[in-house]
């Protein structure tokens, strides 16, 4: 099996001893650790089931932030901070808030090193409260490890109007390396008129991606409001210059629809657009016109897993469930979840993706040919299992073969994947139900020390308005019988905006677990 962890997990040797590098410290530069979106840190030397289960594992620091956090923290070891009172070398956790503040925080002490703000956020866009009271930085930024640059998209008010700006920030001082660019785009519709990107109606929610020397960002809507204006976009810019790519992806290019309702959003509950080793892009789209009549797989690609060329010019393949019309009518977005790309496997279908949505079906698809659309069915997929309603996204690890971690409904489920002699997917274990509310599902990450000490981490959603707690959970990745044994649970913060899902991804790195919630970063570890 060959792995390619692309840009996201880099290793830094603190010292080179005769025995080699000691205590490698990982960087987490992108959502879910890598462009495949595995969510797997397989180099965790400190956190093991026996000590996470003990009283030694607890919240070490709670850092007060200025607003709700919908982004995943990113981690960089050995960053030389050059500004502020904390100048010097640190292991830094970067957190971006809906208040448009980017924090650089010392990962060991919880001390805030830098906290520049990039302008006023947009208050309750379009009156939609399916987000916090502010929308600022909503999508997880991405770091180019080599150039020590963070790319982040800020939603702010300029001259009285909401705009998006893409920034390229120096990790050392969080200052702009280049003038931030205004996000704009246009695309030709099927009647040859031009449709322009309008920041008033678009929500930049999926995590950003670096691949092919480009940074990519997807866009959807606010609450499905202004569905006559809002459409799913995937845009790209050259890293280093922030020059927009010549092409862009507009998911619905139809000029009219029965209800003037377009969308086909890219939102995925914040999960990142994924990229394979060839630089192809993968994402899932949401609902479009509720008449259920506008899908054609060309001019409108709603409710679909999409494989797109890295230059954004060509839809290479897609998979659309045959019941897409009923998904549309019921607002049952397939695109509420994210698409995990499994590392290359042996067998006749080495390139797989796993993708689930609101109705809880997780389809396993062949990335080389996703399966298309088969009116009336049967759908062409490699496998399918029910995981529970999924405003969520899968994780992955390998232990004696590939494993998918699903998090639909209120349970973590572990799925064993076999590809030889033929494909099979079987449930190896389930966690006890998390105390998790809001819409179905939640997010996970996995840590291990190679093949050993596998721990599945999860963060619940609030179950009530007060105190609206969210909790960090840890489960043993090796099932006991059919049960994933709970190792730990503890309150990690609050999420008072109960009308908008918490999509909190726990981040494990170098012996710590980072959980960003409402106005708080919690750092867990061994005391």
């Amino acid at each position: 099996m060959s792995y390619r962890f692309s840009v996201s997990v880099a290793f830094v040797c603190a010292a080179v001893l005769s025995a080699g590098c000691e205590k490698e410290r990982i960087a987490v530069t992108t959502y879910h650790y890598d462009n495949l979106r595995t969510g797997w840190d397989r180099h965790e030397e400190h956190l093991k089931p026996h000590n996470v289960q003990s009283a030694k594992f607890k919240m070490l620091h709670s850092v007060v932030l200025d607003d709700q956090v919908d982004t995943q923290p990113l981690i960089m070891p050995h960053i030389k901070i050059t500004a502020g009172s904390g100048a010097g070398e640190h292991e830094v956790v970067y957190v971006a808030t809906e208040g448009n503040t980017v924090y650089a925080i010392d990962a060991k002490s919880g001390t805030i090193l830098l906290s520049p703000n990039f302008g006023p956020p947009v208050a309750t866009p379009l009156g939609c409260s399916n987000n916090g009271p502010n929308v600022g930085i909503d999508g997880t930024p991405v770091i180019d490890h080599e150039s020590k640059t963070m790319y982040v998209i800020v939603y702010t008010i300029e001259a009285g109007n909401p705009v998006y700006r893409l920034h390229a920030l120096d990790l050392a001082n969080l200052a702009d390396k280049l003038p931030p660019v205004l996000v704009s785009a246009s695309h030709q519709l099927s009647d040859h008129t031009t449709f322009n990107f309008d920041a008033r109606y678009q929500r930049q929610r999926p995590a950003l991606l670096i691949a092919n020397g480009n940074v990519y960002a997807g866009f959807g809507s606010f609450c499905d409001f202004a569905a006559n204006h809002s459409r799913g976009w995937l845009l790209g810019w050259k890293t280093g210059t922030l020059t927009p790519l010549p092409a862009n992806q507009l998911d619905d290019t139809q000029a009219t629809s029965p209800n003037s309702f377009f969308l086909s959003s890219i939102w995925m509950s914040g999960y990142g657009v994924a990229s394979d080793s060839s630089g192809n892009l993968f994402f899932i789209t949401g609902n479009s016109d509720y008449s259920g009549t506008t899908y054609d797989g060309v001019t409108n690609i709603q409710e679909s897993v999409v494989k797109l060329s890295g230059d954004l010019s060509t839809v290479l393949s897609l998979f659309t469930p045959s019941d897409q019309a009923s998904l549309e009518a019921a607002d049952n977005d397939y695109g509420s979840g994210g698409a995990l790309l499994l590392p290359d496997l042996s067998g006749t279908t080495p390139h797989l993706t796993a993708a689930a949505g609101k109705d809880g079906r997780m389809f396993i698809l062949n990335r080389d040919s996703l399966g298309g659309y088969t009116p009336g069915g049967p759908d062409k997929f490699v496998g399918k299992v029910d995981i529970g309603a999924c405003w969520c996204g899968p994780s992955y690890f390998s232990h004696d073969g590939p494993r998918i971690v699903s998090s639909g409904g209120t349970n973590v489920n572990l799925w064993k994947v076999q590809t030889t002699p033929s494909f099979s997917i079987t449930n190896e274990g389930s966690s006890p139900a998390l105390s998790s509310g809001q819409d179905g599902g939640f997010f996970t990450a996995v840590s291990s020390d190679g093949d050993d000490d596998i721990i599945i981490w999860a963060v619940s959603r609030p179950t009530n308005n007060s105190p609206a707690d969210v909790s960090l959970y840890a489960f043993d990745g090796k099932p006991s019988g059919s049960t994933l044994t709970q190792l730990f649970s503890g309150v990690a913060g609050t999420w008072p905006n109960t009308g908008g899902n918490s999509n909190i991804v726990p981040v494990v790195a170098n012996g710590k677990v980072f959980v960003a919630t409402n106005k708080q970063l919690s750092i867990f570890g061994l005391q």
């Binding site: 379009l126 609902n287 008449s291 259920g292 009549t293 607002d331 809001q438 179950t463």
Partner: protein
């Protein structure tokens, strides 16, 4: 709103709702305290509930305290501030009560299914 020529699930739901298949017994219908004492048009409300029936541009929602409230969706739909409306779906309605106690919606969005997550109505 333009009408589609296709008969979809959404239309079926709307049809059955209009035909009264999902309509609760009218004897259960009760006005909310707000409806009983109409507010000025300037008083903006935020009301959570479950859609129990749909009749043309009027929804009947059941609030957390089991009261039935009629909602005029016309302005919300015309201003494109309404998601897909389906019987059984939980919603948050922004708007104001008119003199007859009908909630004139300015926006309708999907709400979480569990009332324990609903903030207090305003």
């Amino acid at each position: 709103m333009k009408k589609s020529s296709a008969f979809t699930l959404a239309h079926a739901i709307l049809f059955f709702a209009a035909a009264g298949f999902f309509t609760p017994a009218l004897s259960c219908f009760a006005r909310t305290p707000q409806a009983a004492a109409p507010q000025s048009k300037e008083t903006q409300r935020a009301v959570y509930g479950t859609i129990r029936s749909i009749d043309a541009s009027t929804l009947t929602i059941e609030t957390r305290d089991k009261k039935m409230v009629k909602v005029n969706t016309k302005a919300a739909i015309e201003s494109r501030r309404a998601g897909v409306l389906i019987v059984g779906r939980t919603v948050l309605v922004h708007g104001s009560y008119d003199a007859k106690g009908m909630l004139q919606a300015s926006a309708i969005q999907r709400a979480k299914a569990s009332p324990t997550l609903w903030p207090e109505d305003k």
